[in-house]
Amino acid sequence: MDLKLAIFKPMLKLAMERNGHGAALGFELTKIGRGEVEMTFPYKEEVIGNPITGVIHGGVIVSLLDTCCGTAAITMLDRPAITPTMDLRLDYMHPAEPHQPIYVSAKVYRNTSNVLFCRGSAWQDDPENPIAHCVATFMKVETPSISLGNVLRRRFNRLIRGDKAFEREADR
């Protein structure tokens, strides 16, 4: 494994697991390969969608698959760029069993000059019997604003000002 990838992977893992909604959900990225990502999500009562059955809300599956596919898309980049989601389509095959972890995997199946095509699936006991399946497309947008210097500057800003830094940037 080359040095660039060796540094990039833990940074990506940290960025996904420790920030914002990723941290709130509390999933773990268990595998990051080029164009292939896997993660695990433990059951949480805060995200229940059906209070009668205890089944988690579909929105959690949307977040998990979007994150997993998005991370897989980022691993395909050769230059600094962001990969906003263009569209995401999910099919729910059966409800997730409460109190059981959910496993998610995503794969980039086509990499073109502007668009990345991904598919992902979420399952519990058997990968062949998924709870949901999705296809997602991501745009490649090259941007100077995500240079290492800029990212570090924002990080530093946030460290000092906390969440206020977000609000200031949003209001600008």
Binding site: H21, G49, V62, S63, T85, L88
Partner: protein, 148 residues
């Protein structure tokens, strides 16, 4: 189990009677996890999601997590069914399709839903999300739910 269901159905009737869709959101734990709220405005239900740090996806922009926008629209669509139709159980989502049109900036997101078709078993709902202006949506979604 049955008492829980009866309680939920009573809550649904009360929410419709009082025209307070927020009472339906309160039944579902996921809505407070992301911070979704609802009220009736111009005879439609307006859903909104105030900004909070735990909904951020990309901290360097900063932008709202795409999954949160998706989850919020899916939740709104389900509430729209529970509020406007005579349904006594949480609808089961079958499929969900989301187009991201603009980045979700770190501020309040609003949404409206429309039930396009209601069958005996299946309901088709569309949801649109915006921030500054309803004419410039940040995302649109459509979903199918089983209600029986």
């Amino acid at each position: 189990m049955n008492t829980k269901l009866a309680q939920m159905q009573a809550d649904l009737l009360q929410a419709r009677g009082l025209a307070e869709p927020q009472k339906i959101l309160d039944i579902i734990p996921y809505s407070s996890f992301i911070g979704a709220q609802a009220r009736v405005e111009n005879e439609r239900v307006l859903y909104w999601l105030e900004r909070r740090a735990s909904n951020i996806g990309n901290p360097s922009l900063p932008a709202i997590h795409g999954g949160v926008i998706g989850g919020f629209l899916e939740l709104s669509a389900a509430i729209e069914i529970l509020y406007t139709l005579d349904v006594g159980q949480i609808p089961k989502v079958v499929d969900f399709s989301l187009d991201y049109l603009r980045p979700g900036r770190y501020k309040t997101i609003y949404a409206n839903c429309t039930v396009l078709r209601q069958g005996k078993k299946l309901v088709n709902v569309t949801a649109t999300a915006w921030q500054d202006d309803p004419q410039t949506p940040i995302a649109t979604a459509r979903c199918h739910f089983l209600i029986a």
